[in-house]
Amino acid sequence: METYLYIALFAPLVGSLFAGLFGARPKTIIAGLVPTGLLFASLVSSTILLTHVLAGNTVHVELMTWMETGDLYIPFGFVVDQVSVTMMMVVTIVSTVVHVYSIGYMDHDKGFNRFFSYLSAFVFSMMVLVMSDNFAGLFIGWEGVGLCSWLLIGFWYHKESATWAANEAFIMNRIADLGMLIGIFLIYWNTGSLQYDQVFAAVAGLEISTVVWIGIFLFIGAMGKSAQFPLHTWLADAMEGPTPVSALIHAATMVTAGVYLVVRANPIYDIIPEVGTVIASLGAFVAMFAASMALVNRDMKRIIAYSTLSQLGYMFVAAGLGAYWVALFHLMAHAFFKALLFLGAGNVMHAMSDELDPFKMGGLSKKMKGTFIMMTVASVALAGIYPLAGFFSKDMILEVAFVEHHYILYTVLLLTAGLTAFYSFRLIALIFHGEERYKLFGFDPHEAYKYMLWFMAPLAVLAVIAGMMFKGTYYDMVTQLLPAGEYHVHSAFTYWVMTIGTQIFVGLAIVYAYRKYENAKIDKKVESGFFYQLLFNQYYIPQFYEEFFVKPYRDLSMIFWKHIDLKVVDATVDMIGNTFYKTGKETHVMQNGNLSTMLRWMVAGLVFLLVSAIVFAKANDIFAYMVTIVPGLGA
C-alpha cells in the first residue's frame, strides 16, 4: 500500500517537473499529456487506497527525517486515513478532469507547457497538504498551494489586473498564514510536538485558554485560505486566472483547505465549543453576505466565485458546530458540482471570446447543448434540489443547525439557500435562455471540443449521485475517525415540514429567477437603488481596504524609503564602501612591483615576527625579572 501512497503523492510532482522541462519552449502536446497521465496514475492509486481505507485500514509512512535538533523532531511523514483519503479523492478526481479539460482550454495559449507545470505542482502541494501527518508538513503544502495559486492567478502576467489579483491573493494569504504560524508555534511550545496524534493526545491536558488561542490562530490561517470575511476580497479577484484554475484551485480544492484544517484539528475544536460557535456564526454570515453580492453581479465568474464563498460559509457552519463529517461531505459534493459549473463557464467564455457579462449572452442553449445540460445539473445540485448531491450535503447542514438549537443560524442558512437558488438560475437564465442577445455584439458561439465535454461528464455524474449513493457508506467510513452524529430531527413531522418547506422555498426562488431574468430586462429603478449599489460595489469593502490600509501603508513606505532608507541606510553603506575603495586606491602605491621593495617588506615582516616571537616567549622571564627589580627601585 505504501507504493500506492508514494505514487499518489509524487506522480504529480514528476509531471510538474516534466512539463517544467519544456517551460521555455513552444507548445508541445506532450507537456500536457504526460502530467495528465501521471495524475491519472495518482487518481488510480488514490482509489486503491480508498478501498483499503474502506476496509478499515489506514496507511502511515515516514519517508525520512526532515529536522532533528534537540527535542525537535519533524519527519516527512504521510498518512492516509479516512479524512485524508476523502481529500485525496476529491483532489485527484477534479484535477484529472481539469487537466484533460485544460489541454483543450489552453490549446491556443503560448504558455501551454508552463501552465501544466504549475497545475501539477499545485496538485502535488495539495497532496502534501492533505496527506501530511504533522502540522509542519501541512504548512509546507499550505504555502506550496499558495505559491501555485499566485503563479496561476497571475498566469497571464502581461495583464496588469492579473498580476494585481495574484499579489492581492498572495498578500492576503500571508496575513492569515502569520496567524497559522503562530498557532503552530503555540502548539509546539505547549505540546512539544507537531505530529497530529501526539498533539491531539496532549491537547486535552492543556489549559483551556491556551487551547482557545491555538484554535483562534489556526482558524485565522483557515480564514485566509478559505477566503472568509474579512479576508475574502481576493477570491473574487482571483477569477483573473484561467478558468480551469478557478475550477480546480478557487472552487474545488485549495479554498477548502481551511475547512480541512478545522476538520483535521477537530480534537482541538471539540474542547472549545465557544470558538466553534464563533466559527459557525462567521460561516453563516459569510454564506449570506457572499450570496447577496452574487445576486447582482454582472460577471459570470465572479458570481460563481461568490457562490463558492457562500458554500464555504456553509461548511464552516457545520465544522464550527462539531458536525465535521457533514462539513467534509459538503466539501466533497461541492467540489464536484462547483468544478463542473466553472468548467461549463469556461466553455461559455471560450464560445463568447472571453466575454464575461451574462447580459450579453442569452439563448446559448441552442448552440451549446452539452454545456447547457451540465451547467444546469450543477446549478440544480448547488441549489440543493432532491435527489442531487447538494440536497444531501447542504440540507444536512441546515438540519445540523436546527438540531443544535441554533435557530438564528438555521434561518440565515435557509434564506441563503433561497438566494443561492436565485442567483444560480439567474445566471442560467441569462446565459442560456431568452433572446440571443449575443448577436447584437457580433459573437459567434461554438461548443467546446467533444473530449472536453466527455471528461466533464464524470463530474456531472458525481454531482447527481454523490449525495444519494455515497452518504451512508461515507458516514460509516469517516466516522471511524471523526466524531459521529446522526443529526436527525426528532419528530418525523418536523422533518418532513422542514424538508418539503425548504424544497418549495428553493423551487420558488428558481421560478422567480427564471421569470425575472429570462428576458434580461434591466430594471432601472432597482439598479439605482441603494441596496443594489451597495451589493454591486461589494459593500464598498475593496474601496475601504484601499483607503484605510493600502494607501496609508504606501504613504508610510514612501516616508521610510525617502527619509530612512536613502538618507540613513544607503548613505552609511556608501560611506563605508567609498572609504574602503579610496584607501585601496591609495595603498596601491605600496604594491609597485619593485623587487627591492618586495624584499624590504619581507625582511621587515620577518624581523617583526622574530622579535615579537622572542619577546612573547621570554615575556614570563622578563616579567619575573621586573617583579624582582621593581621593588628594589621603589625602595
Binding site: M64, G577, F580, Y581, T583, G584, K585, T587, H588, Q591, G593, L595, T597, M598, L599, W601, M602, A604, G605, L606, L609, L610, S612, A613, I614, F616, A617, K618, N620, D621
Partner: protein, 495 residues
Amino acid sequence: MLEQLLLILPMAITVIGAFFLMLLSWNKRFTLKDYNLVAVFFLMLSFIVEFPQLSNTEIIYIFPEVFGTMYIIDNFSTLFDLMFTAGAILTLLINTDYFKSRNYFNGEYFALVLFSVFGMMTLAHSNELVTAFIALEIASLSVYALAGYHKNNRLSTEAMLKYMILGSMTGAFFILGTALIYGAVGSTTLGDIALFIKSASDSESLLVITGGTFILVTILFKIGAVPFHSWVVDVYHGAPFPVTMFMASTFKIALFAIALRLYLVDFAPINVIWSELLQVITVLTLIGGSWLAISQDNLKRMLAGSSIVHSGYMLIAISSIGLGSQEAAPAIMFYLMSYFLSSVGAFGILSFIASRSNKALTFKDFKGFSQRRPYLAAMMAIFMLSLSGFPSTIGFLGKFYIFTSAIESGQILLAGLGILTAFISVYYYFKLIAMMYFYPTDEPQKKFPMDLSGVLIGLMAVLVIWGGIGTGLIPFIPGADGFIDIAKQAVLSLQ
C-alpha cells in the same frame, strides 16, 4: 614489503610519469594532446590507486628500517594527495584548449606539473623537516619554471624571476629554521621535536621558537600572507593561465598540509605564542588582500588579491588552533576543499575564455557575458557566489565553520573582521556578476563548442552547490555534512 610498496605507489606513479614524459618529449612526433593524455593518465592512475586508502585509519611509516619516521602515511596526507592529483587533473583537462592556442607549451611542461605534484605529495607525507624542505623545493622549483613558461613574454619572465628570488630567500629561511631547531633538539623528526618541546623549559625552547618562526615565515610567504604577499599579484598575473590556476588552487593547499601537521601536532604546546602574532598577520592579510582585490581591473589580478583574503580566513582558523579550538582544523580542511572547488572553477572559466583570445581579461570584457554564453555565465556566477561565501554554496559553509571556530576560541573581533571582509568581497565578486548580467553585450553571440572543459567546469559548479545544500540521503555520495566529516576524520588521524 609489498604492502609498503603499494602504499607509496601513488607517489611512485606520479614521479615515474614525470620521468616518462621527460623522455617522451625528446621525440618530436608527439603532439601536446598526447602529452596531456599521458600526464592525465598517470595522475588518474595515482588517484585511483590512492582513493581506497582514504578509508584506512592506521598511521604507517614507510620502510621504517631505512627512513625511520621520516615518511608517514595517514588519512590526513591521503586526503591532501587526492586533492593535489584531482587539482592537477582538472588543471590539465580544463586547459586542453589553452595549450592548443599557445605555441610555447611543450612536453616538459607536463613533466614539470607532475614533478610539482610529486613534491606536494611528499610534502604532505613528510614527517621530518629536511624531507619537508626537499619536497617543498621540488614543488617550488617546478612551479618557478612553470610561472616563467611563456619565455618571450616580459610579464611571465618577470613573474618567474620575482617568484624565484623571493622564494629562494624564504627557502633559505626554512632551512635556517630547521638548523636552529636541530641545534636545540638534536633531531629534525617531528616526533622528537614534539617530545623536546613538551619537556623543555621556557629558555630551552627559545631556539625552537626562533626556528619555528623562520619556518612560519616560509609558509606565510607561500600562502601569500601580508606582509609577505607582494609577489602574489604580479606572479599570478604574469604566469600563464593554467599555471596560475594550478598555483592558486593546488599549490596553495600543499602549504597548509605541512602547516597543519606542524602546528597541530608538533608545536602544539608552544603554538599559543604564535597565536597573537598570527592574529596580527591575519588582520593585515584580510585588510591588505581586500584592498588589493578591490582596486583591480584585471580579473586575474582580482582573483590573486582575493586569494590573499582567502589565506587570511584560513589563518583565522590556524590561530584558533593555537587557542584550543577543536573545530578549527577540520574547518581549514573544509575551507581548502571549498576554495579548491570554487577557484579551480573560476580560473578554469577564465582560461577557457582566454584560450580563444589574446586579450588580458578585465571586468569590462564580461559585459553582457550572460547573453553571449548563458551557461558559462551561470557557472561563473555560482563560483563567484561561492567565493564570496553566499549561502547555499560550499563557500558559505567553509566560512561558517571558520567563523564558528574563531568564536569558539574567543576571537570574536577576528570573526567580526572576517565577516566584514566577506562583505567587502561581495563588492569585487558581484561586480563580475553585475557585469555579466546587467549590461548589454558589445559583441554578437558566438557559438562556442561545449567540450570536455565545459563539462568539467559544470561538474565543479554542481559540486559547489552540492557542497552547500547537498543532502546526505543519497547513499554513497556525501552531502554537505559529509564533507566536514571527511575533514574531521582526516584531522583525527593526525592526533
